[in-house]
Symmetry: C2
Subunit: 488 residues, 2 copies
């Protein structure tokens, strides 16, 4: 099933990355002039146009500004960029999560239109091809007549499964239309994968921090989460997983392999392969949630762990909610050897996936242009990510750490231990800003001073003002905490 | 919450019903001439036009034919109409259902277009306002732009919940928009109601036979079904329920109150009220599935048990899948005192209900005409039901019993004990006909000689041929069974 693919960044991206690292390391300080285009071209032995592209990339990241007739300068950063959060160290016991109530408060707020929404985890619909999709679904409704009204029984709309099979090449897979079952978003795909592989009370190994939707699903199904140590850039620690698989009766491993939620880490290919092999050897199914894979900032979409699956042990889940139309509720799974049971469970849980939305997405993919659209979306998201990182960097208290995602639309911010994320969340809501507070990402009540910020909003000014407000609140909470301790 | 409403049938319907009863009782035999319009008008002391309407109704039921210049005659029926099935007597122990595999074989067949589908349970989309709905969703997609692409977060589209609140008057309720949460069809509504009220291993009291989708949901959630004795016309036996509630730790009662699936019974109002009170007193939530209520043959839609709910103990579930557009996947619940938890579970399971389909149905209801459409749909369904009953009556083996539903689109046929419904189902599939075999409606393997037939197909000739084929198969199975016994 595995297909070899090139993952090397383009030349200009390599050059830009080296300059970025030099800036972050303080080798190039704020206000420093960068080498001229010609100088850098000679220095790096690349073409003039490659250097120009690299400088454009640095500008897009908001690290560099061009001053007319003068050259490129490092923009002002108040201090060196913050460290990444450390590898997480959750306790080694499985717990039934209890986040549903906490999540409620958060998402109730997100529905309010006057709120600046930094609590969600996806690109603004302003960045998505809404007009084309709307035109397509309108045309299909008129032309398809009764078909759009009828049930489309599992496994789901054939033309859509055909397109998914074609797209699976981009994930490093070679799946066929019959490998897929369409679902109500990735949420239902993950839910059904858990139902297909676990019985109540079973233990599921997850990342730590883990996506709150996953923890909610475990809570609903009365499953227990075993949070695994997780590296902020490379995902779940496999040595720890191997130990846990030996010691505890784990029944499934659930991983967001690419640009995980909330850490934004992307598991390297060799680690994905190792993960698949470890699960195979242990006879434990791997549920892969790859909902963010298409939102990579780099030139090559990262592979799916599914691409290393030779035994059907991987249940691959994703959707179009982050890239095309969340309101269409079209997701899918490629559930491997669990396919038949998965399809039955889908039928029993929601009978069918809505017909017209599936038809419209199939038509969109068939007409081509999805990859071109993705390229422009990725550029926007990379720019926005760098922007939010810069504002956090210049406005949050000393000691704040944050992730450096290479894809997706979320940033994980670890504030000083004295800052209570739930208090920050509540105070921010009063000031018209929603964030996702750290504790909803844990079954063990951890991450009390962390927040997840959405970087998918293209209104940079609005986002900057909101993040600066969050920084002010964080400063105040950091300062008030020790005083309270003294008076206590 | 309860609202007093008139339930008396119209005059012409009373007259038609009396004539029907006379025919079924054999007082008027096949070929007999009915009284002339004038005679009957004097005899019944009603107007000429009332008699004409009554005769039209009898013709619609296929009981009577008009012969030009001669009068109305009773149509040929081979023998008196069969008896109803008896009240069911399931064993008094709770079991975890195991029907998922059986159901699979059935519904896989239903997807095949060349199959005459007598296995489903809803009106053909030929009878539904597909064009208008298609036009509406097309217009909304063009006009609504980004809105249709966005998540519509729970509790669901406000204009739709507004319309549901208005329609709740027809169910005898006075619910407000905030009482509702929209779902992926009634299937998700029932599923979430079970999750909101039960923990794994809990016992849920259900009808016997019970809708296989309910049994599947119980199986998926590792709940146990306690099948209750059920009257074919009046639903669950309440005395038995009361005893069971005292003896066993039942955590929820799940009832299809109106035109239940598969029996087609409709619980009388006073029994609904008693059911609500019994559950209240026992402190056990009542999950009401009212997906067929709008498909009554009579003039007044039966009330919902929810209309007697004063404490929020009833979780009311329904959808538009049987009356408007199954492929839109729009259902809802009014979960009473479980509303908040229900909404959270909805968010956790499938995040949101598709946006455009909700908008289209809200607009359809707002424009009016739904009630007019329902009236014509009900006339069609009543006619088709009578037609299928007549064909079963004249083509199935002696000793066959069947229900006499006053609404919905399914007929439950109990064949002689020697006929194996699973064998009939398989033989019928080979001959291009799908039926729903009895055992999928039980957690205890009962109903081995029963089948459920769809009466929602308006192609009367096709249906007649298919039902006659089923009758032939049933005859052969009935005859071969004793011979096999002898040779054994």
């Amino acid at each position: 099933m595995a297909v070899a693919r090139a993952h090397k960044p383009l030349l200009f991206e390599q050059v830009a990355a080296r300059m970025r690292d030099a800036i972050h390391a303080g080798i190039l300080a704020a206000g420093d002039r960068l080498p001229s285009v010609r100088e850098l071209s000679q220095q790096e032995r690349v073409s003039i146009s490659t250097v120009l592209q690299a400088y454009q990339q640095l500008e897009a990241w908001d690290l560099v500004e061009a001053r007319p007739q003068s050259g490129h300068y490092v923009r002002l950063l108040r201090r060196p960029p913050p460290q990444e959060p450390p590898v997480s160290r959750p306790p080694p016991s499985a717990r039934e999560p209890s986040v549903v109530e906490l999540v409620r408060r958060m998402y109730m707020a997100a529905g309010n239109e006057r709120i600046v929404n930094l609590g969600s985890a996806r690109p603004s619909s302003k960045l998505l091809p809404t007009r084309k999709l709307s035109r397509l679904i309108a045309a299909l409704a008129r032309e398809a007549g009764g078909v759009g009204i009828e049930y489309d029984m599992p496994p789901g709309w054939p033309a859509l499964r055909q397109q998914l099979a074609r797209r699976s090449l981009a994930w490093g897979c070679q799946l066929g239309p019959d490998d897929f079952v369409t679902t109500i978003g990735a949420a239902e795909a993950v839910h059904l994968s858990l139902l297909a592989t676990c019985c109540r009370g079973d233990i599921v190994a997850v990342e730590s921090p883990a996506y709150y939707g996953t923890l909610q699903a475990l809570e609903m199904l009365e499953l227990r989460a075993l949070e695994m140590p997780t590296h902020p850039r490379e995902g779940m620690q496999l040595d720890a997983l191997e130990v846990a698989l030996k010691k505890q009766p784990i029944k499934a491993v659930l991983v967001v392999t690419n640009f995980s939620n909330p850490l934004g880490g992307c598991m390297p290919d060799e680690k994905k392969e190792a993960l698949v092999r470890i699960c195979e050897r242990a006879g434990v199914p791997l549920i892969e949630d790859d909902i963010y894979g298409d939102l990579c900032f780099g030139p090559a979409r990262p592979r799916a762990a599914k691409s290393f699956d030779r035994t059907g042990n991987v249940l691959y889940c994703s959707s179009f909610s982050k890239t095309l139309a969340a309101g269409f509720r079209v997701g899918w799974a490629a559930p491997g050897r669990f396919r038949e049971r998965f399809e039955l469970l889908k039928f029993a849980q929601t009978v069918a996936t809505p017909t017209l939305p599936q038809m419209a997405i199939a038509e969109f993919l068939q007409q081509g242009g999805y990859d071109r659209f993705l390229r422009s979306l990725r550029r926007e998201l990379a720019k926005q990510m760098e922007h939010v990182r810069n504002v956090v960097c210049s406005s949050f208290p000393e000691g704040t750490r944050m992730t450096r995602p290479e894809g997706g639309a979320i940033l994980w911010v670890q504030m000083p231990a004295s800052v209570d994320a739930l208090k920050l969340h509540e105070e921010a809501l009063r000031r018209g800003i929603s964030v996702a507070p750290g504790p909803i990402f844990s079954s063990t009540g951890r991450y009390r001073s962390c927040i997840r910020l959405n970087t998918g909003n293209p209104d940079l000014e609005q986002v900057e003002a909101a993040v600066r407000t969050l920084g002010q609140i964080a400063h105040r909470l950091a300062e008030s905490a020790p005083r309270l301790q003294k008076s206590a």
